[in-house]
């Protein structure tokens, strides 16, 4: 079995699927129809080969779906950013069609970012492609979308994308990568990069890194996190305090908490008071 096939299976297992649905026969019909995975074995090797094969196969076997996937466009979300506002087809080959659209280029930056985001909502394999797409993408918002989608993939490729995101030239991408790391099953492997991110000149990167280190329970980051309690950015102080308590509850000393309880940011002062109260009890 190829690595891609393993990835696909792991991904589907992680995401679950309609077959997981526990249906009470008296409670109505299932909310989602069952997915019929293609019987063809995934193509091994370079992801481009797989994508080309999937696209050709879909075009031949389900031209209507192919046409729909190639023409569907992202809509302006309520926030104004472009987003695909419908559930993508559950057919894993849909992933390849979206990847194909990205490879072929065209479309605005916002449209590419939307395509990058929707990959994470498809059921096929895409993390290997993200590594290459990330490397060749000039726009930070698109790279950020790739990192976001990497959160849903469990393969080594996904970790690579997040890792490269942490080292990206854009603080927007770095922050997204730091954020995503906390929720990724292999996020703890990025502890070194996250600790380094605590020294970033961008407060949003420092705060996201601090937050992730806390959620991941990176004990070795305690010293750096303590230093960040004096950070000039309130978000960083808040996340550092939170992280320290998550790593070792009750570990922030009373003197420090007393100081932070007078912080000008109410989120920090509230948290410090709460932690001090907890420590007393």
């Amino acid at each position: 079995m190829t690595r891609h096939a393993v990835t696909l299976i792991l991904f589907l297992a992680a995401c679950g699927g309609p077959d997981d649905t526990t249906l009470d026969q008296h409670s109505g019909t299932p909310l989602k129809p069952a997915v019929t995975a293609p019987t063809r074995q995934p193509v091994s090797g370079d992801w481009r080969v797989r994508v080309a094969a999937d696209v050709a196969d879909l075009q031949a076997t389900d031209p209507d779906l192919f046409a729909q996937l190639t023409s569907v466009s992202a809509q302006r979300s309520r926030a104004g950013i472009l987003r695909f506002s419908s559930t993508p087809s559950a057919d894993p080959r849909a992933t390849s069609v979206f990847l194909d659209r990205l490879v072929r280029g065209g479309g605005s930056v916002a449209e590419r970012a939307a395509l990058g985001e929707v990959l994470g909502r498809t059921t096929g394999t895409y993390a290997d492609a993200l590594v290459d797409l990330f490397a060749s993408e000039r726009e930070a918002s698109v790279r950020s979308a790739y990192v976001h989608s990497a959160k849903r993939a469990t393969s080594e490729h996904a970790v690579t994308v997040i890792q490269r995101g942490l080292g990206d030239s854009s603080t927007e991408v770095q922050a997204e990568a730091a954020r995503v790391a906390a929720g990724h099953p292999s996020g703890a492997r990025l502890a070194t990069e996250l600790r380094a991110a605590l020294a970033s000149s961008a407060p949003e990167v420092r705060s996201e890194a601090a937050r992730s280190l806390g959620i991941l329970g990176v004990e070795t980051a305690r010293g750096e996190l303590l230093a960040r309690l004096d950070d000039g950015a309130a978000d960083v102080r808040l996340e550092a305090l939170r992280a320290l308590d998550r790593i070792t509850p009750g570990s922030v000393d009373a003197t420090r908490l007393a100081l932070l309880s007078r912080d000008s940011d109410e989120r920090i002062s509230r948290l410090a008071v709460k932690l001090a109260d907890t420590a007393v009890r």
């Binding site: 649905t21 019909t29 309520r78 104004g80």
Partner: protein, 576 residues
Amino acid sequence: MILGFAIGQRRSGSNSIEVPSHRAKLRPVMSRFTCALVLCSVAACGEEGGSQGPDAGTGTDACVGSGCTPAPDAPPDGPPPPPPWSFRNVFGVANLDDDDGATRDWEQAPFAADDDMAKLVLPKETLAMVTGPVQLTLTGSLTSIRIYRATQLVLGGTAGGGPLSITPTGADIELLIEFGNYSVAGELAITSGTNTWISKLQAAPLLMNHHLQPAEHVWAVRVGDNTSFINSYQSVLGTKFTAVSGSTVGSDVWMQDEFEFGTTTGEGNQRLDVVIDSIRDRGLDGYAESSWVGPDTIASAWGNPATATSYDSFGNLEASPPVVVNGVSYPFGKIYYGKVGTSGLNSTLGTFLASQKVQAPFQLPTNWLCVGHVDEYSSFLPDPASPKGFKLVIADVPAALAVLATMSPTAALPMYSQDHGYATVGAILNDAALIALNNDLQSDYLNPIIAKFKTELGLTDADIIKVPSLFETVSNCGGRVAALIPGMANLIVANVDGQTTHVFTADPFFRSTTNQATDPMINAFKAASSPTLQWHFIDDWNTYHLGLGEVHCGTNVRRTPTASWWTTAQHLMGSN
């Protein structure tokens, strides 16, 4: 001295204020409700209500003028008789609409079809008290108040403040009063010999609607994949619902965000609806002008479209139901919108809304949300059994976690599998980052927001329904969040027939089958709400939920005004 004595004298009898009667603007329900409210207010407020505001009690006159019957429990001896030389105060609407399809009425001389002028009658019986001429002097907003005799401008505007001398001829003297803007006020001194009376002239403030007002009509935009959503409204509301064709509005489905309905009302059933038009200016921009604007309805925008952000959409601008806070009554509720520092609703609109005074706006943080709107986490539901008549509905993470704790970790969530990456309840609970995020949002934002609501609206825990809610971060939104479980606090209340209160909100799909009765999130929300509500959990998953909005975001409602500001809100208007 004169002001202190003269203004606010209670008046009943023949000196009723009138407007041209060819077109009564308020629906019957409004008149009945207004009268009931006024009578109730007068009866309940007693001495305080009778003496508090300069014009307290004039609404009783309006009631009589509208043909309603006096309250059975009115004081038997009634108000003290007015002094012999006394006239009415005038409470009208700004004449900003276009009643003749030509040009804005304020820009024209009076004409027959213009129903936004107020009439002040100086009755011949009162004028008979004096023998010499009557002097009229106008002070206050001279540029925004005009007084006409027939079609001749006699005071205000280019005519100045007077004095104007009129010699009574034995007939009534009829004056037409026109206001050029919201909330403008002036005083008309009516003097003859040693007799002086000052009538207050005041234009209506612009008031935003709230969820307890009857719904007159509901709109949403029909696009390719929201058929279920549209059909749900259509089947319940019938002709009271309009599905706007998406192709005519650039597929802009965010009907709530482009418009906010407000009303202005005056004595004699005057009503001018004001569509506050957002500066967001996406596909729906222009819909108000093409479909709603005309006689008795205008659209106005505040702010510079070039500076628009998501905060300027009107899911970020709402009004509470009527409240009493620290003994102060807000009969039209209070406005609230999202803003922290300079991030929020544009200050031009914020300043204008504050200037209307009656709904005393306050601000809430929305900068933690990707979209950034107050309707993402809060709303109001009627609750007839509640002392306040309503409940605040607010998104709540612990409420969601409590529901999750009652479910099997293996319970399937097929709708969440692909779009959110959570196939089961256990998958959500096992995502430590997600749970931490939501707990932190509750601590950092939602709890302080609840506290703020309590302070600003005088609420207690008993007045609050906590709706199960979870959030997640969104791509390219700087770490800010949107609803993971379709936001049920983002709801629409529509009482269109005076009987059934329909509530439309998102189907959370927190189950494996189509049977909503098995949905624990639905059941938790319904169990916490009034049993009088008719619920409609509608499918907004595609188009709305995945587009980072929900039911309220995709809907707008025109509502009937239900109280007379000149009788119930003078204490809030200060020295307008």
